[in-house]
Amino acid sequence: MRLIPLIRSFRDSHGPDSLPDRQIRDLYARERERALDAAALAEILAPLLIEQLSKGLPGALHPPPLTSDARPSPASPRASAGAPEIADLLDGMLAQENAPAAGRTHRRP
């Protein structure tokens, strides 16, 4: 957050009332709206741009389609693993009970 030291420095140079808090809040709100508008525009324009670029550049790669829910994979696959559900464990037990005797001893993945 480099903005805060800059605001402090500006106020030190030009006086404490030179940049009121209300003005800073309005600034944040406008920037937030601009960011949201940019994201919405990107969703609409990006596929069109990709299409145009792929026509214009021979041998150009076709990137994967953008989706609104695209997100990076978790840092660790175990981070998203939940505790084993009891009912699922019981399914495993019943499957063992119903398996033929020859196949009942092994299960280890």
Binding site: G82, A83, P84, E85, I86, A87, L89, L90, D91, G92, M93, L94, Q96, R104, T105, H106, R107, R108, P109
Partner: protein
């Protein structure tokens, strides 16, 4: 009682208690129960489906007492003809005691059925509910033993599920409120449980899936066997002592330990009406150390069956539960033995004071989680 009275209660005029048949209404209340059917003590936890409250939480000695003929009216409360649990033990002079189970297996089906009826009456006195019970069974229980339980439960419980006890102990031990904490190791995902009961010592490797037969080992040597060794040695050292099995068990529970022999351990007993002090340090220590010697090979066998990626964490989660967890020093002795044998940083801990309830608690959790199609009907 550790063993059943040798005579079957066939000569006693037992009038069948008036247990009403369960109502057959379609909209019966459903009660979900977890039952640890132990050789010496059973634990039942039950509550209505849809409620998180445990309406019933009882520990009942697994014993049935058939009142002897000729007992004067009024000696037995309500002139009952059958007593159960503590009532049966308190009136041992007036009843023929029958222990339904031996080494975790039903050996007296009639007594077992009477006992299960009693369990039902505790949970559903009016016998109107749809009673669904998860019952713990010893690890790798044979089909014959499982079928005995089903046969005894037929007409008493409406639905049944049989699940190995050490697995249920892990479920019961699991702290559901901490599952989302990053540092909490769910015992169901990677642990080794040692459940030392009265009849059997059950070991189970639990690693996030239901354990197979290879992941479980049952040793028919546990609390009752220790009692037997102590009793035999007392009889050898002090002939004619006349101490009962229950007294010997009480001595064991008060003074049990493993590790180097502790002498003297003086125990006060009453023999022939007179107080005597018996030195039993070596007797008790040898008997309890025998238990560790008996299940230690099974423990190392299961450890070696774990994958190399999981075994280090597994060694940090060896948990002892059941009555045997109360033997003094059993966790430290076992841990040291594993260290001395070269296992990497083993950590053995005790399940804690709730050890009597973990199997039943796990069974109750399983009852609440079981899907409709997982319950087994028990047909008469």
């Amino acid at each position: 009682m550790t063993t059943a009275i040798s005579e079957k209660p066939s000569t006693i005029a037992v009038s069948s208690p008036p247990f009403p048949a369960p109502a057959r209404k379609l909209d019966r209340k459903v009660i979900l129960a977890g039952l640890d059917l132990g050789t010496n003590k059973s634990c039942i936890l039950a509550g209505s489906a849809g409620s998180t409250d445990l309406a019933v939480s009882k520990i009942v000695p697994t014993v049935v007492g058939y009142v002897r003929e000729g007992i004067v009216d009024g000696i037995i409360a309500g002139n009952a003809t059958i007593l159960y649990g503590d009532d049966a033990l308190k009136n041992f002079l007036h009843v023929n005691l029958a222990a339904p189970l031996q080494n975790g297996v039903i050996v007296h089906p009639d007594a077992a059925r009477d006992f299960l009826r009693h369990i039902r009456s505790l949970v559903d006195p009016g016998a109107t509910a749809d009673l669904r019970v998860v019952v713990g069974v010893p690890a790798n229980a044979e089909e014959e033993a499982r079928e005995s339980i089903r046969a005894c439960a037929a007409g008493i419980f409406d639905r049944l599920l049989l699940i190995p006890e050490p697995f249920l102990a892990a479920l019961g031990y699991r702290d559901d409120s901490r599952l989302n904490q990053p540092n909490y190791v769910d015992p169901v995902t990677n642990s080794l449980f040692i459940d030392i009961g009265g009849g059997t010592s059950d070991l189970c490797l639990i690693q996030g899936y239901f354990p197979s037969r290879d992941d479980q080992i049952c040793i028919a040597f546990a609390g009752d066997a220790i009692d037997g060794l102590i009793h035999d040695e007392i009889n050898r050292l002090y002939p004619g002592n006349g101490l009962s099995t229950q007294t010997v068990r009480d001595i064991k529970e008060a003074h049990s330990y493993v590790g180097p022999i502790r002498k003297p351990t003086d125990v006060k007993v009453i023999i022939g009406g007179k107080s005597r002090m018996l030195e039993l340090g070596e007797t008790i220590g040898r008997a309890c150390n025998t238990l560790v010697d008996r299940f230690y090979p099974a423990l190392t066998t299961l450890i070696t069956r774990a994958s190399s990626d999981s075994v280090v964490q597994l060694l940090q989660n060896i948990i002892i539960t059941g009555g045997g967890s109360q033997i003094r020093g059993i966790d430290t002795v076992l841990q040291k033995r594993l260290e001395d044998d070269g296992f990497e940083s083993p950590k053995v801990r005790l399940a804690g004071q709730d050890y009597k309830r973990y199997v039943a608690l796990g069974a109750h959790k399983a009852a609440r989680a079981a899907r409709e199609n997982q319950w087994q009907h028990v047909l008469e």
